[in-house]
């Protein structure tokens, strides 16, 4: 059985300027211990999906269809209380801008203890030991001293390490990493990603890596889910996706990833922008207006997910 199953999940935001069809018919399965990348440009719904899974959504959000099941628990139907049990304990999350994600006036050791106290009832001394251990695990130098540090006293990379320590403090089964390396320099990026993937492997923890960096996803993920304008357009094993992308959007994304030795002038880009998700006449293929392969029948009403065994699915009328 899959650890996380998202089936036919649709989400919209009712705003004053109209209904935003943020996510439509999303399907996503995560197995125990695997690392899945969710890629797509900004605004494609990657982050909203992860917040939707944990049901931390704005009051204007409505789930209009689908189900989310985590380890047998129906997350959409679960009470707020049992969701709070899941958040941080079973599913943890790290995000970009680690500096703002830490409470500025609380010592980092205390913040780790806060998480421990929320989910495990332990003694004061015990918690302190565990918090220092958590800092050791993410390879913070001089953890005994850093335990007393405030976030503003740490570098961006160290803050992200602290975030990871916080997220992993309760041994979650699933870690959602939402652009964990955005805003960090390249060497720190690599160190953080090595740390996350190393810890995930060690604990057999499943990881969802949300990123717009295809190169990063290709390096660390077993499978990749490509999102565009609130749709999952393609899902495949990493190697296969890069070797033979089936969706024109994926193909363009790969072509527009810079490689060393390549001139910036030859770098491909994707024409057009994401469609306005408030439109009521959104075509069933939301890439239609940007697609150079579009044909007459592409505008027809329903667009099925096409399966290419063993595990490659594409949302396109005329896959590559």
């Amino acid at each position: 059985m899959n650890l996380l199953e998202v089936k036919d999940y649709s989400l919209e935001f009712r705003t004053r300027s109209g209904t935003v069809h943020a996510l439509q018919n999303i399907n996503l399965d995560i197995e125990k211990g695997e690392t899945v990348g969710i890629v797509g440009e900004s605004g494609s719904g990657k982050s909203v999906l992860s917040f939707g899974i944990l049901r931390i959504l704005d009051a204007a959000a409505r789930v209009t269809s689908g189900s989310v099941t985590f380890a047998g628990l129906d997350l959409l139907g679960a009470s707020e209380g049992s969701l709070q049990e899941v958040r941080g304990r079973e599913i943890a999350m790290i995000f970009q801008n680690p500096r703002t994600a830490l409470n500025p006036i609380r010592r980092i050791g205390r913040q780790i203890e806060d998480v421990l106290a929320t989910h495990t009832t332990t003694l004061r001394e015990d918690m302190r030991k565990k918090a220092v251990e958590a800092l050791v695990r993410v390879r913070i130098p001089d953890p005994e001293r850093r335990y007393h540090a405030y976030p503003f006293e740490l570098s961006g990379g160290q803050c992200q390490r602290v975030m990871i320590a916080l997220a992993l403090a309760c041994n979650p089964q699933l870690l959602i990493a939402d652009e964990p390396t955005t805003g960090l320099d390249v060497t720190t990026q690599a160190a953080i990603m090595e740390l996350v993937s190393g810890l995930a492997r060690e604990r057999k923890m499943a990881t969802i890596l949300i990123t717009h960096d295809l190169a990063l996803a290709s390096e660390y993920c077993d499978r990749i889910v490509v999102m565009h304008a609130g749709h999952v357009v393609e899902t495949a094993a990493t190697g296969e996706l890069f070797k033979a992308p089936r969706h024109p959007y994926t193909a363009r994304l790969i072509a527009s990833t810079p490689a060393s030795g390549q001139s910036i002038a030859t770098l491909a880009s994707i024409p057009g922008n994401l469609p306005d998700l408030r439109r009521n006449d959104l075509p069933s293929c939301r890439f239609l207006e940007r697609c150079e392969r579009a044909q007459q029948d592409c505008a027809s009403a329903s667009l099925p997910l096409k399966e290419f065994p063993p595990a490659h699915s594409v949302r396109c009328f005329h896959p590559l």
Binding site: L54, I56, E80, Q84, E85, V86, R87, G88, R89, A92, M93, F95, N97, R99, T100, A101, L102, N103, P104, I105, R106, D114, V115, T118, H119, H148, Y150, F152, M163, L166
Partner: protein, 281 residues
Amino acid sequence: MNATLKHVKYVATENPVTLGAFILFSGFALLALIGPWIAPYDPLASDTLVALKPPTVAHWFGTDSLGRDILSRIIVAARLDFGIAVSAVAASFAVGSALGSLAGFFGGWADRIIGRVADTIMAFPLFVLAMGIVAALGNTVSNIVIATAIINLPFYIRVARAEVNVRRGAGYVEAARLAGNSDLRVLALHVFPNVLPPMMVQISLNMGWAILNAAGLSFIGLGVRAPQAEWGIMVAEGATYIISGEWWVALFPGAVLMLAVFTFNLLGDGLRDIMDPRMRT
């Protein structure tokens, strides 16, 4: 603990104004605590032989119309004036910051109702409202505290609401939710502590204002009653003698009152620096 003390020392030495404010405040606090024991005379004992005498070596601040020592009365009054101000500010801080935080954090109906209540209080001339409350509830010290607390309430509601509101969407608030904290826990443990430094300034400014307000009420004859030593009453009693040239009766309690308000106004900045760990370098 040691680090906190070090930090207090750092803030105090870095800014001489803060240091001055802390020294003055400690002085007033000391008077409030041990005033009755260090006052040279009994503040209530009248001695008509020395009535209305200007400052002398025996009576540094002179004597009033009943021959009571003004210095002793000022010293003893510190406890009452500080007591009123501290309890009034504590009450409005507790209620106001709780209501304001809820309004700022949850928005919607809570915000609308609490906001309108604050607006309604603000719509009155505040001192007149305080007079009305004391007149309606009865002429006692505890009613002065209640009246002062009520008229200060909107300021706390507004500051707390605004400060919580800007932090409601902060990364660490989202992170705390994602770590499985309930809304109230997020508010109490993660948002509210961040709101305290700006609230500290409000508390300190308000304290001065509360003292002034209590003295003002006593000055017009509400609240604290005649024989009791209180700065406002002393100024009121002295006011009648200014024309006839006995200036010291009103001047000294008035000056002390001013100094107390001044102290609290200066204290605010220093307190904020101490509360905010980002100032620790």
